[in-house]
């Protein structure tokens, strides 16, 4: 329900401003989790939004202690995810959070290594979500019928075979020995 605001786009702006609804906008999110960083997703949210944080910086197994107190969301735990070497956890940005950029950190249990990532809180969505338009170029015809060049080559080869066969039959009919 919280995130419906983003879908209602323009009309929801007023509601989102009231802080009741979260309307994250995260165009151009980078993918992957380079070692040593904490990926915060979405990286730009409105107060009240649910955020996930994951990292590949802690190595195999184990857990990590997440700290989102900067944004007022307290501590959370990152545990093994479906992805190899990835730890994941989540927290909710308090509805009372003020706009700004906050550092979210996590400390690997065991190694004690610290990884960090930024979370941006905005009262209104950065911009309306950009939606693709038009058709998608997802095929070249490679699964389809014969390539014309190939067909021509095949027909030519069969023509040669037919000519050769005819010649042989012709010779045989003339008694040229075969």
């Amino acid at each position: 329900m919280r995130r419906t605001a983003r879908l209602l786009s323009g009309t929801a702006l007023a509601v989102a401003t009231a802080g009741l609804f979260a309307a994250p906008a995260y165009a151009g999110e980078s993918r992957g989790t380079p070692d040593g960083t904490l990926e915060v997703y979405p990286s730009s949210v409105a107060p009240g939004a649910q955020v996930t944080a994951n990292t590949a910086g802690c190595g195999d197994g184990g857990t990590a202690a997440g700290d989102a107190t900067a944004v007022g969301a307290g501590r959370f735990t990152l545990t093994a995810s479906a992805h190899e070497r990835d730890l994941i956890g989540g927290f909710q940005v308090p509805p009372s959070a003020q706009p700004g950029t906050y550092e979210i950190v996590a400390t690997c249990d065991g190694s004690g290594r610290r990884v960090a990532g930024d979370l941006k809180v905005t009262l209104t969505p950065d911009a309306e979500q950009v939606v693709p338009r038009g058709s998608v170029k997802t095929g070249v015809g490679g699964a389809l019928g014969p390539d014309p060049v190939r067909t021509a080559a095949g027909v030519s080869a069969l023509a040669v075979a037919a000519a050769g066969g005819t010649w042989l039959l012709h010779r045989r009919a003339r008694g040229d020995g075969i």
Binding site: L7, A82, I88, G139, A157
Partner: protein, 213 residues
């Protein structure tokens, strides 16, 4: 003269026979293999959207998490997902064509399972033959689509409709527009093929979230 011709004719006949056999074989191979697979299946009118009839209740939305794989058991799809952006013309970009079993999702949009319209696209074929979504047009209403997520969960969608659109009249709002519940679109090429302009449009699968785990 005739005798000489006959004497030379011996090896000549063998050579001609060999060439004939070779030409026959290569001709048949070229034509047979070149015929390849039939055109990708296209949805029938019965799979089109039919108002609200048959809609199952949507499952509650999942928190945002980037997806990692898409599985469509009915047509044997199990493919990793890569992030997609937009092209300079604003259309959805496509995954690299050389990896036939790779699909993509629009990463600046809704994540599958979240409220809104999540978008997945993949190739119907590449230069070598059929690709990940070759059979997408054969999908039917009620089929299951599973999206594995980076948070370890899986979003389960149920197909509402399978439609095919001409690229010149692509219904942007219907396909990409916002939705009040968690929905998914799976897109590939379709709608007939022209040697000069390629596929004429797209097959679009509409689905909504019916479960999660």
């Amino acid at each position: 003269m005739r005798r000489r011709f006959r004497r030379l004719g011996g090896p000549g006949n063998a050579a001609i026979a060999a060439v004939t056999a070779l030409a026959l074989c290569s001709g048949m191979w070229l034509l047979h293999d070149g015929a390849g697979t039939p055109a990708p299946p296209q949805p029938s009118a019965a799979q089109a959207r039919s108002g609200t009839a048959g809609h199952r209740t949507a499952a509650p939305a999942l928190p945002p998490s980037p997806p990692s794989r898409v599985r469509i058991p009915a047509i044997g799809v199990d493919a990793p997902l890569t992030g997609l952006g937009l092209t300079s013309t604003g259309s959805l970009d496509v995954p690299p064509a050389d990896r036939e079993n790779l699909a993509g999702w629009y990463e600046a949009g809704t994540t599958p399972g979240e409220t809104g319209t999540a978008i997945i696209a993949g190739h119907v074929d590449n230069a070598d033959g059929p690709a990940v979504f070759y059979s997408l047009g054969a999908l039917r209403k009620g089929a299951r689509i599973e999206v594995a997520r980076r948070d370890g969960g899986t979003a389960v969608f149920t197909v509402d409709a399978v439609e095919v659109y001409d690229a010149r009249h692509f219904p942007d709002e219907k396909v990409y527009g916002a939705a009040p519940r968690p929905e998914l679109r799976v897109i590939t090429c379709g709608g007939g093929y022209s040697r000069t302009t390629g596929y004429r449009g797209n097959v679009v699968v509409y689905a909504h979230l019916t479960g999660g785990r």
